[in-house]
Amino acid sequence: MTSNSENGELARPGELSAHESELRAAFLAEVEKIPGGDRIRRCIQCGTCSGSCPVSYAMDIQPRQLVAYFRAGDLESILRSRTIWICASCYACTVRCPSGIKVTDLIYGLKRMAMEGRIRSRSTPTSTLSSEFVRLVNRYGRSPEIELSVRYLLRRAPHRLVSQIPLGWRLIRKGRMPLRTHRVKGLAGLRRIIAKAEEMETSFPRKRLQPAAAIGYGAVSERLAVEEGVVT
């Protein structure tokens, strides 16, 4: 086993690639901003979060494993995972964690890191919807629910747009589809608030990653799979 992780090979335990170290530093800075965020250090790997999560069945990395991967030096796999986009913010894990870890808030931080740092080469349904939402709120000051859905479907799943027409019609008939979007009067002030806050927003490492650069759990399991002949 060599320690040349920059060439995409396994590093020795405890050794991190330059990019992983950068990601870690950014993540820990992010964690500090979450009230009680440093409790992540107290994770006992009990799995209460995974057991409480209603969507863990659809995740590739279980909520409990998020902390395990991080400890193993594999934040990169977390940022590439489907997990962070599947979390629906129900906070079941957060209220049940015996160590008081703010799992949902940590996942928000991971979403921001992944989006801002362009960790994935392609957007995800959740990142498209969220960024579209932010754009519309910045434009109107309020969220135009229907326009948001339509814009999202146009970008992600135009084929589903047609199947939504009957629903749109039902909503119109029931007077539940506003046809005009309200703009807040103090929009100029709101935009100044947003622009100022944007200047102070945390920025994350933006480097595009090499596919095989991962070390830690992801790389280890890949390696084991090769050794055991599961994949070649």
């Binding site: 901003k33 906070y91 629903l167 506003p178 002030g189 608030i193």
Partner: protein, 290 residues
């Protein structure tokens, strides 16, 4: 009794029946709601997924506007409610975020001193007005109606709230006092999937479907909820009845204020029952017509 009212985007849009029924119910209960002038979107879960400081500043603009009114702020939408509470906590507990948000608010000549108390209308009705008082004011009994009280996530989590995060009972108590019976409903705080019905429909429909299944299996006549997004998901996952069918197989979903209004003597029309996407079913129709 006077409160500042923060309706949120959905109540001015697809959840207009929630807005209308809430206003009328509160008037009946002697509570005056004064809508916050020029409020903006709370940012919900999605703004927080993209930007943190900006998301907090966007929410804080509302809190700053509300502070000038000097009254508690009422937020009926679960996402607004939790976002407003969470922003209060972040600003209180993380000094440098507060400093950043302060600076941002100054750009619009606003200032927020962290004094706004955020409350949910269900909390006000059950804990401030009281179930007994509501029962005394009621003119129509809900006897024989079997409800599945669906609380969803964000009115009981993650912020320490007015009810239990795993097994809340506010709506059970409220409607129980009015004659309705809560069915066994273990999915009461199980997530409906929220925006997953849009982003990952195969996952979202599984979650929403489970809740509907649980309510039907346990014999509920209606699902009563507090959240606009939950209501939308629970309604739209169910197929509309064909022709003039009586909706066999579907279960109606109402905002808790719509049902409460009926008990307080409001008409079905004023409670916007006709704007439901699904047939009301026998019991509810009989009750609304009585």
């Amino acid at each position: 009794m006077k409160f500042t009212y923060y309706p949120g985007c959905s109540l001015h849009g697809t959840s207009a029946p929630y807005d209308r029924s809430l206003r009328r119910v509160m008037t009946r209960l002697g509570v005056e709601l004064e809508e916050l002038e020029d409020w903006n979107c709370c940012g919900a879960t999605m703004y927080m997924s993209v930007r943190e400081t900006v998301a907090l500043a966007v929410t804080a603009r509302n809190l700053a506007l509300a502070e000038a009114k000097g009254q508690p702020l009422v937020a009926p939408c679960s996402a607004c409610y939790t976002t407003l509470l969470k922003t209060n906590r972040y600003l209180r507990e993380v000094p440098h975020l507060r400093a950043q948000v302060d600076q941002a608010l100054q750009e619009a000549d606003l200032r927020y001193e962290l004094s706004v108390r955020v409350r949910h209308p269900l909390d006000i009705i059950v804990n401030h007005i009281g179930v007994d008082t509501v029962a005394r004011l009621a003119t129509r009994r809900l006897d024989g109606l079997r409800i599945a009280p669906y609380y969803g996530c964000q009115i009981v989590r993650p912020e320490p709230s007015f009810d239990d995060p795993d097994w809340p009972t506010s709506m059970d108590d409220l409607f129980g006092a009015l004659g309705a019976q809560s069915v066994y409903f273990p999915d009461r705080v199980r997530c409906c999937g929220g925006m997953l019905l849009t982003t990952y429909p195969e996952v979202g429909s599984e979650l929403t479907g489970n809740i509907l299944e649980c309510a039907k299996r346990n014999g509920a006549d209606v699902v009563v909820t507090t959240c606009p997004l939950c209501l939308m998901n629970l309604e739209t996952l169910q197929k509309p009845a064909k022709g003039n069918g009586n909706g066999s197989g579907s279960i109606p979903i109402l905002f808790f204020t719509q049902l409460l209004g009926l008990a307080l003597g409001e008409s079905a029309k004023d409670m916007d029952l006709h704007r439901s996407l699904l047939p009301l079913g026998e019991r509810l129709t009989a009750l609304a017509g009585a």
